[in-house]
Symmetry: C2
Protein backbone atom coordinates (compact mmCIF):
# COMPACT_ATOMS: atom_id res chain seq x y z
CA UNK A 1 0.00 0.00 0.00
CA UNK A 2 2.63 2.52 -0.91
CA UNK A 3 4.40 4.13 -3.79
CA UNK A 4 8.08 3.74 -4.57
CA UNK A 5 10.12 6.89 -4.71
CA UNK A 6 10.36 6.29 -8.44
CA UNK A 7 6.57 6.48 -8.79
CA UNK A 8 6.41 9.64 -6.73
CA UNK A 9 9.04 11.29 -8.91
CA UNK A 10 7.20 10.13 -12.01
CA UNK A 11 3.88 11.53 -10.82
CA UNK A 12 5.25 14.90 -9.78
CA UNK A 13 7.25 15.24 -12.97
CA UNK A 14 4.37 14.29 -15.21
CA UNK A 15 2.16 16.81 -13.43
CA UNK A 16 4.92 19.33 -14.00
CA UNK A 17 4.77 18.59 -17.71
CA UNK A 18 1.00 18.92 -17.67
CA UNK A 19 1.31 22.38 -16.18
CA UNK A 20 4.35 23.75 -18.01
CA UNK A 21 4.97 21.87 -21.25
CA UNK A 22 3.16 21.62 -24.55
CA UNK A 23 3.83 20.36 -28.07
CA UNK A 24 5.64 23.59 -28.86
CA UNK A 25 7.18 24.09 -25.47
CA UNK A 26 9.02 20.90 -24.68
CA UNK A 27 10.97 20.68 -21.47
CA UNK A 28 14.25 18.88 -20.81
CA UNK A 29 14.89 16.46 -17.98
CA UNK A 30 17.44 18.82 -16.55
CA UNK A 31 14.96 21.66 -16.11
CA UNK A 32 12.31 19.47 -14.52
CA UNK A 33 14.79 17.72 -12.29
CA UNK A 34 15.95 21.06 -10.94
CA UNK A 35 12.45 22.50 -10.56
CA UNK A 36 11.11 19.75 -8.41
CA UNK A 37 14.47 18.67 -7.00
CA UNK A 38 14.77 15.14 -8.26
CA UNK A 39 18.04 13.49 -9.40
CA UNK A 40 18.14 14.11 -13.12
CA UNK A 41 19.72 10.88 -14.45
CA UNK A 42 17.22 8.93 -12.42
CA UNK A 43 14.35 10.99 -13.75
CA UNK A 44 15.70 10.48 -17.27
CA UNK A 45 15.33 6.74 -16.79
CA UNK A 46 11.81 7.10 -15.49
CA UNK A 47 10.83 9.35 -18.38
CA UNK A 48 12.24 6.85 -20.87
CA UNK A 49 9.94 4.28 -19.39
CA UNK A 50 6.94 6.59 -19.38
CA UNK A 51 7.57 7.34 -23.05
CA UNK A 52 7.63 3.63 -23.82
CA UNK A 53 4.37 3.33 -21.88
CA UNK A 54 2.89 6.13 -24.01
CA UNK A 55 2.14 8.23 -20.96
CA UNK A 56 4.37 11.10 -21.98
CA UNK A 57 6.08 12.01 -25.26
CA UNK A 58 9.52 13.21 -26.26
CA UNK A 59 11.54 14.55 -29.13
CA UNK A 60 15.31 14.68 -29.34
CA UNK A 61 17.56 17.46 -30.44
CA UNK A 62 17.55 21.23 -30.03
CA UNK A 63 14.33 22.51 -28.51
CA UNK A 64 13.47 18.92 -27.87
CA UNK A 65 12.36 17.52 -24.56
CA UNK A 66 9.30 16.02 -22.97
CA UNK A 67 5.68 17.03 -23.28
CA UNK A 68 2.14 15.64 -23.35
CA UNK A 69 0.11 15.04 -26.46
CA UNK A 70 -3.68 15.26 -26.36
CA UNK A 71 -3.69 11.50 -26.00
CA UNK A 72 -1.16 11.60 -23.17
CA UNK A 73 -3.29 14.15 -21.35
CA UNK A 74 -6.10 11.60 -21.18
CA UNK A 75 -3.98 9.22 -19.12
CA UNK A 76 -4.41 9.31 -15.39
CA UNK A 77 -2.16 9.14 -12.34
CA UNK A 78 -2.90 5.46 -11.83
CA UNK A 79 -1.50 4.77 -15.30
CA UNK A 80 1.77 6.31 -14.13
CA UNK A 81 1.84 4.17 -11.01
CA UNK A 82 0.99 1.06 -12.99
CA UNK A 83 3.75 1.83 -15.45
CA UNK A 84 6.45 2.36 -12.83
CA UNK A 85 5.52 0.15 -9.85
CA UNK A 86 2.94 -2.17 -11.31
CA UNK A 87 -0.36 -2.61 -9.51
CA UNK A 88 0.68 -5.35 -7.08
CA UNK A 89 2.57 -3.05 -4.82
CA UNK A 90 -0.31 -0.69 -4.15
CA UNK A 91 -2.70 -3.58 -3.60
CA UNK A 92 -0.66 -5.46 -1.03
CA UNK A 93 -2.09 -5.98 2.44
CA UNK A 94 -1.04 -3.27 4.86
CA UNK A 95 0.25 -5.88 7.31
CA UNK A 96 1.70 -8.14 4.64
CA UNK A 97 -0.82 -10.98 4.87
CA UNK A 98 -0.95 -13.08 1.75
CA UNK A 99 -4.67 -13.70 1.96
CA UNK A 100 -6.31 -10.51 3.11
CA UNK A 101 -9.81 -9.74 1.92
CA UNK A 102 -13.36 -9.36 3.16
CA UNK A 103 -13.63 -12.98 4.23
CA UNK A 104 -10.24 -13.21 5.96
CA UNK A 105 -9.37 -9.61 6.74
CA UNK A 106 -6.26 -8.41 8.55
CA UNK A 107 -6.88 -6.32 11.67
CA UNK A 108 -6.82 -3.08 9.69
CA UNK A 109 -8.46 -4.31 6.52
CA UNK A 110 -11.68 -2.37 7.00
CA UNK A 111 -9.76 0.83 7.61
CA UNK A 112 -7.37 0.35 4.70
CA UNK A 113 -9.91 -0.81 2.14
CA UNK A 114 -12.05 2.36 2.00
CA UNK A 115 -8.91 4.45 1.93
CA UNK A 116 -7.48 2.41 -0.90
CA UNK A 117 -10.69 2.73 -2.90
CA UNK A 118 -10.83 6.41 -2.24
CA UNK A 119 -7.27 7.13 -3.29
CA UNK A 120 -7.42 4.82 -6.30
CA UNK A 121 -10.60 6.65 -7.31
CA UNK A 122 -8.80 9.94 -7.01
CA UNK A 123 -6.01 8.63 -9.22
CA UNK A 124 -8.39 7.20 -11.80
CA UNK A 125 -11.35 9.54 -12.04
CA UNK A 126 -9.53 12.55 -13.38
CA UNK A 127 -7.10 12.51 -16.24
CA UNK A 128 -3.64 14.02 -15.90
CA UNK A 129 -4.71 17.36 -17.29
CA UNK A 130 -7.76 17.69 -15.07
CA UNK A 131 -5.72 16.57 -12.11
CA UNK A 132 -3.11 19.18 -12.88
CA UNK A 133 -5.67 21.92 -13.41
CA UNK A 134 -7.15 21.26 -10.01
CA UNK A 135 -3.74 21.65 -8.42
CA UNK A 136 -3.01 24.85 -10.31
CA UNK A 137 -6.40 26.38 -9.55
CA UNK A 138 -5.83 25.79 -5.86
CA UNK A 139 -2.40 27.38 -6.04
CA UNK A 140 -0.55 24.32 -4.78
CA UNK A 141 3.17 23.79 -5.09
CA UNK A 142 4.38 20.25 -5.67
CA UNK A 143 8.00 19.98 -4.69
CA UNK A 144 10.16 17.60 -2.78
CA UNK A 145 12.63 20.36 -2.03
CA UNK A 146 13.32 20.46 1.66
CA UNK A 147 13.56 23.99 2.99
CA UNK A 148 15.49 22.91 6.07
CA UNK A 149 18.20 21.32 3.91
CA UNK A 150 18.50 24.50 1.87
CA UNK A 151 19.36 26.40 5.02
CA UNK A 152 22.25 24.01 5.58
CA UNK A 153 23.69 24.51 2.11
Amino acid sequence: MMLSRASKYAILSTLYLAEHASENRKISVKVIAESIDVPSPFLAKLFQQLVKGKIISSTKGPNGGFYLTKKNQKKNVLDIIENIDGLNRINECFLGLSECDGTNPCPVHFIVEPFKNSILGKFRDKNIMEFSQEIVSKGRKLTIKDISTEINS
Copy 2:
Protein backbone atom coordinates in the same frame (compact mmCIF):
# COMPACT_ATOMS: atom_id res chain seq x y z
CA MET B 1 3.03 6.03 4.73
CA MET B 2 3.98 2.39 4.78
CA LEU B 3 5.53 -0.27 6.89
CA SER B 4 8.75 -2.08 6.09
CA ARG B 5 8.60 -5.80 5.79
CA ALA B 6 10.58 -5.90 9.01
CA SER B 7 7.82 -4.03 10.86
CA LYS B 8 5.17 -6.30 9.44
CA TYR B 9 7.07 -9.38 10.57
CA ALA B 10 7.57 -7.82 13.99
CA ILE B 11 3.89 -7.01 14.40
CA LEU B 12 2.66 -10.42 13.32
CA SER B 13 5.21 -12.21 15.45
CA THR B 14 4.51 -10.15 18.53
CA LEU B 15 0.81 -10.81 18.11
CA TYR B 16 1.67 -14.46 17.82
CA LEU B 17 3.46 -14.26 21.15
CA ALA B 18 0.49 -12.48 22.67
CA GLU B 19 -1.76 -15.32 21.64
CA HIS B 20 0.45 -18.33 22.23
CA ALA B 21 3.24 -17.54 24.68
CA SER B 22 3.38 -16.76 28.38
CA GLU B 23 5.98 -16.55 31.14
CA ASN B 24 5.85 -20.31 31.53
CA ARG B 25 5.33 -21.13 27.91
CA LYS B 26 8.12 -19.39 26.05
CA ILE B 27 8.38 -19.85 22.32
CA SER B 28 11.49 -20.07 20.17
CA VAL B 29 12.15 -18.04 17.06
CA LYS B 30 12.14 -21.20 15.02
CA VAL B 31 8.60 -22.14 15.96
CA ILE B 32 7.22 -18.68 15.33
CA ALA B 33 9.09 -18.29 12.07
CA GLU B 34 7.58 -21.50 10.79
CA SER B 35 4.07 -20.74 12.03
CA ILE B 36 3.76 -17.43 10.28
CA ASP B 37 6.26 -18.20 7.53
CA VAL B 38 8.91 -15.60 8.13
CA PRO B 39 12.68 -16.15 7.64
CA SER B 40 13.89 -17.21 11.05
CA PRO B 41 17.33 -15.59 11.24
CA PHE B 42 15.74 -12.33 10.17
CA LEU B 43 13.05 -12.67 12.79
CA ALA B 44 15.72 -13.46 15.38
CA LYS B 45 17.32 -10.09 14.64
CA LEU B 46 14.03 -8.29 14.91
CA PHE B 47 13.23 -9.97 18.22
CA GLN B 48 16.63 -9.00 19.59
CA GLN B 49 15.74 -5.42 18.85
CA LEU B 50 12.26 -5.71 20.35
CA VAL B 51 13.78 -7.15 23.51
CA LYS B 52 16.16 -4.20 23.73
CA GLY B 53 13.16 -1.94 23.23
CA LYS B 54 11.39 -3.72 26.11
CA ILE B 55 8.47 -4.65 23.89
CA ILE B 56 8.95 -8.37 24.28
CA SER B 57 11.03 -10.49 26.67
CA SER B 58 13.32 -13.47 26.33
CA THR B 59 15.27 -16.02 28.26
CA LYS B 60 18.08 -18.18 26.94
CA GLY B 61 18.65 -21.85 27.38
CA PRO B 62 16.43 -24.90 27.53
CA ASN B 63 12.75 -24.04 27.65
CA GLY B 64 13.81 -20.52 26.90
CA GLY B 65 12.39 -18.38 24.17
CA PHE B 66 10.30 -15.27 23.78
CA TYR B 67 7.20 -14.18 25.65
CA LEU B 68 5.39 -11.12 26.97
CA THR B 69 5.46 -9.92 30.54
CA LYS B 70 2.50 -8.01 31.99
CA LYS B 71 4.41 -4.83 31.20
CA ASN B 72 5.09 -5.95 27.62
CA GLN B 73 1.39 -6.65 27.16
CA LYS B 74 0.66 -2.99 27.82
CA LYS B 75 2.69 -1.90 24.81
CA ASN B 76 0.83 -1.25 21.60
CA VAL B 77 1.37 -1.95 17.92
CA LEU B 78 2.63 1.57 17.31
CA ASP B 79 5.41 0.94 19.79
CA ILE B 80 6.51 -1.96 17.61
CA ILE B 81 6.49 0.18 14.49
CA GLU B 82 8.34 2.96 16.26
CA ASN B 83 10.95 0.50 17.48
CA ILE B 84 11.58 -1.06 14.07
CA ASP B 85 10.93 1.64 11.49
CA GLY B 86 10.86 4.80 13.55
CA LEU B 87 7.96 7.19 13.18
CA ASN B 88 9.24 9.21 10.22
CA ARG B 89 8.49 6.57 7.69
CA ILE B 90 4.82 6.28 8.52
CA ASN B 91 4.39 10.03 8.63
CA GLU B 92 5.86 10.80 5.24
CA CYS B 93 3.71 12.45 2.58
CA PHE B 94 2.04 9.94 0.30
CA LEU B 95 3.42 11.70 -2.78
CA GLY B 96 6.79 12.46 -1.22
CA LEU B 97 6.38 16.21 -0.78
CA SER B 98 8.68 17.63 1.82
CA GLU B 99 6.19 20.20 3.06
CA CYS B 100 2.79 18.59 3.08
CA ASP B 101 0.28 19.72 5.66
CA GLY B 102 -3.04 21.48 6.02
CA THR B 103 -1.70 24.76 4.67
CA ASN B 104 0.23 23.32 1.73
CA PRO B 105 -1.41 19.97 1.14
CA CYS B 106 -0.50 17.52 -1.61
CA PRO B 107 -3.34 16.49 -3.93
CA VAL B 108 -4.26 13.53 -1.74
CA HIS B 109 -3.52 15.03 1.65
CA PHE B 110 -7.14 15.25 2.75
CA ILE B 111 -7.71 11.63 1.83
CA VAL B 112 -4.52 10.37 3.45
CA GLU B 113 -4.71 12.38 6.65
CA PRO B 114 -7.95 10.89 8.03
CA PHE B 115 -6.76 7.43 7.10
CA LYS B 116 -3.46 8.01 8.83
CA ASN B 117 -5.18 9.22 11.98
CA SER B 118 -7.56 6.33 11.90
CA ILE B 119 -4.91 3.67 11.51
CA LEU B 120 -2.57 5.27 14.02
CA GLY B 121 -5.51 5.36 16.42
CA LYS B 122 -6.08 1.68 15.85
CA PHE B 123 -2.42 0.98 16.55
CA ARG B 124 -2.37 3.11 19.68
CA ASP B 125 -5.73 2.76 21.38
CA LYS B 126 -5.51 -0.90 22.25
CA ASN B 127 -2.55 -2.57 23.85
CA ILE B 128 -0.96 -5.64 22.34
CA MET B 129 -3.01 -8.02 24.44
CA GLU B 130 -6.33 -6.34 23.69
CA PHE B 131 -5.40 -6.14 20.04
CA SER B 132 -4.59 -9.82 20.01
CA GLN B 133 -7.76 -10.78 21.87
CA GLU B 134 -9.84 -8.97 19.30
CA ILE B 135 -8.18 -10.95 16.53
CA VAL B 136 -8.63 -14.24 18.34
CA SER B 137 -12.26 -13.56 19.22
CA LYS B 138 -12.99 -12.90 15.58
CA GLY B 139 -11.28 -16.13 14.56
CA ARG B 140 -8.74 -14.43 12.28
CA LYS B 141 -5.59 -16.07 11.01
CA LEU B 142 -2.53 -13.86 10.62
CA THR B 143 -0.11 -15.48 8.24
CA ILE B 144 2.00 -14.46 5.33
CA LYS B 145 1.99 -17.99 4.01
CA ASP B 146 0.94 -17.97 0.42
CA ILE B 147 -1.38 -20.85 -0.41
CA SER B 148 -0.63 -20.62 -4.13
CA THR B 149 3.11 -21.05 -3.53
CA GLU B 150 2.46 -24.13 -1.41
CA ILE B 151 0.81 -25.78 -4.38
CA ASN B 152 3.98 -25.25 -6.38
CA SER B 153 6.26 -26.80 -3.78
